[in-house]
Subunit: 209 residues, 2 copies
DNA sequence: GTAAGTTTGTGAAACATTTCACAATAGTTG
DNA sequence: CAACTATTGTGAAATGTTTCACAAACTTAC
C-alpha cells in the first residue's frame, strides 16, 4: 500500500468522512453519493470524490459509495494495524478533560500512559489510567512502544517534556502548551493553542459584520 | 482601514508573532530581523516579511523591525478597538478549563457570559463569572453586544446552541463539539475537534518512522 | 564620504489545493 | 435492449500560498 504523498488536509477530511458515515444507521441507508457526504461534512462534492480517489476507493456511478465498505477502506488507511498507545504528560485541567473524554472513543487508540510531577497525582488511578512520575516517562514509552504523545504541561516545561518524548521514540506530538516546540523535522507536531484560536475567531467575528 | 482580503493563515501567524514578541525583554532587545522572528515562530523569513507587508508594517533595512511598534501595529490590526465580550455555553470539563485558563490573558478579550442547563451550576460564580441558564443566553448576548461564542456543550446540543447564538448576533463561533455546525456562510466557525486531531497525529506519527 | 555588509520589500516562480467540467459508466424504465 | 438519468473519476483550469531572488535602502566602519 502506498501512502506517503497524502496531504494533512486530506487526512483530516477522511477522518471527518468516517466520523459522519458512522453516524448513519446502516439499516436505513446503505449507499451515499458524494454530494450528500459533502453536505454533511461541509466540503464540496468534487473534493469528496478527489479525497476518496487518493485512497483508491471506487464508488459506483449512479449509486454512489457503499457506506460500510467505505468506512472500512478509510479505516484501513487511517487506523493503526494494531491498537496504538498514547502518552499524555500533565494531568491538569485540559489533560484530565482529554483523558476522560477520549477513553474508549476510538477502538485503535488508547491513552495508555499518563505522567505528572505532582505527588498528589502520582500513583493514583485517574479515569482508569495510573499516573506515573514524569521521570519514568522515557522508560515507560520505550517499553510500551508508544509513538504519540500529548503535552498538557505548563508552557515552561513543554520543551523539556517534548525532548524526553522524542528521545524515547515518539514521532507525533499534540501540543496544548502555548510554545513553539523545537524538534527534528521528521517529527510531526500539531499545536492546539487555545488563546491563539480565541483571538483568531474574535478577529474574524469582527470582519464578518 | 482595509482588512478584508487577509487569509486565515496570515492572521494566525500575526497572532503568533505578537505572542513571541511579547516574550522578548524590551530592555535587552529593541529590534528584530525577519530571520530571527522566523526562527522563533517556526516559519520562513520571506513569509514573515510578506505577512508584515500585508498589514502595511515597514521595517528598516539593515536594522529590521522595531519590536514595540510592531507589537502595536499587530494589535491595531488584530485587536478589537474596545474590549470584546465572549459567551461560552457548556460549563463542563473543557468549558471550565478554558474559562479558568483564559481569564485575564488577553486584555481586549473577556469571557463575560457563561451558560449551562445544570441547576447545580446556574447562578453560581465560576472563576469570577456568573453562570446563567441557557434560556437566558439570547437576551444576555444581545444586551452585551457579544459577537463571539464558544461551544463546549455535548454534541447533541451544539447545533441548537449555535443557532441561538447566531440569532442573538454572534458572528464567530469556536466549536469544541464533534459535529459539523450548519450555519450561514457569513458566520465564521472554527472547529476544534479533539478526537479528530488525536487521530490525525496518530496517523502521521506512523508515517514518520 | 564611500565602500562593504545587512536586511527589507516585492515581483515572479514554484508549489499546493480546490474547483470545474465532462466523458465514461452504471442503473432504471418502458 | 435502447434511451434516459444520475453519478463517478479525473484531466485541466483556477485559485491560493509559499518561497525565491534580487534591487533598493539603511547602517557601519574606515
Ligand atoms: N486549560 C486550558 O484551556 C488551556 C488552554 C490553552 C492552553 N493551555 C495550556 O495547557 C497546559 C496545561 O493547562 P492546564 O490548564 O491543564 O494547567 P494545569 O495547571 O491545570 O495542569 C498542568 C499539570 O501539569 C503538571 N506538571 C507541571 N510540570 C510538569 C512536568 N514538568 N512534567 C509533568 N507534569 C507537569 C502539573 O502538576 C499539573 O497537573 C499549559 O501549557 C497551558 O498553557 C491550557
Ligand atoms: N473534554 C474533552 O477533552 C473534549 C474533547 C473533545 C470534544 N469535547 C466535546 O466538548 C463538549 C463538552 O465536553 P466536556 O468533556 O466538557 O463535557 P461535560 O459533560 O463535562 O460538559 C458539558 C456541559 O454542558 C452542559 N450542557 C448540556 N446541555 C446543555 C445545553 N443544551 N445548554 C447549555 N449547557 C448544556 C452540561 O450541563 C455540562 O456542564 C462535548 O461536545 C464533547 O464532545 C470534549
Amino acid at each position: 500500500m502506498e501512502h506517503h504523498l497524502i496531504s494533512e488536509k486530506t487526512v483530516e477530511r477522511l477522518i471527518l468522512y468516517r466520523r459522519i458515515l458512522l453516524t448513519i444507521d446502516p439499516e436505513k441507508q446503505k449507499n451515499i453519493v458524494s454530494h450528500q457526504l459533502a453536505l454533511l461534512t461541509g466540503v464540496k462534492s468534487p473534493q469528496v470524490r478527489r479525497d476518496l480517489m487518493v485512497i483508491g476507493y471506487s464508488g459506483s456511478p449512479a449509486r454512489g459509495y457503499d457506506i460500510s465498505s467505505l468506512i472500512e477502506s478509510i479505516g484501513h488507511f487511517i487506523d493503526a494495524p494494531v491498537k496504538q498507545g498514547i502518552a499524555l504528560a500533565g494531568v491538569g485541567n485540559i489533560g484530565r478533560a482529554i483523558i476522560d473524554y477520549f477513553k474508549g472513543r476510538r477502538p485503535k487508540l488508547d491513552i495508555s500512559a499518563i505522567f505528572d510531577i505532582d505527588p498528589e497525582k502520582i500513583n493514583r488511578v485517574l479515569h482508569g489510567c495510573r499516573c506515573y512520575h514524569i521521570d519514568q516517562m522515557e522508560a515507560i514509552i520505550r517499553a510500551g512502544k508508544i509513538h504519540m504523545g500529548i503535552i498538557t504541561v505548563p508552557a515552561d516545561s513543554a520543551q523539556s517534556v517534548a525532548e524526553h518524548m522524542i528521545r524515547a521514540g515518539v514521532t507525533g506530538i499534540l501540543n496544548y502548551a502555548p510554545v513553539k516546540l523545537v524538534h527534528p523535522e521528521n517529527i510531526h507536531v500539531e499545536n492546539r493553542d487555545i488563546t491563539l484560536v480565541i483571538e483568531k475567531v474574535a478577529y474574524f467575528s469582527r470582519q464578518v459584520r
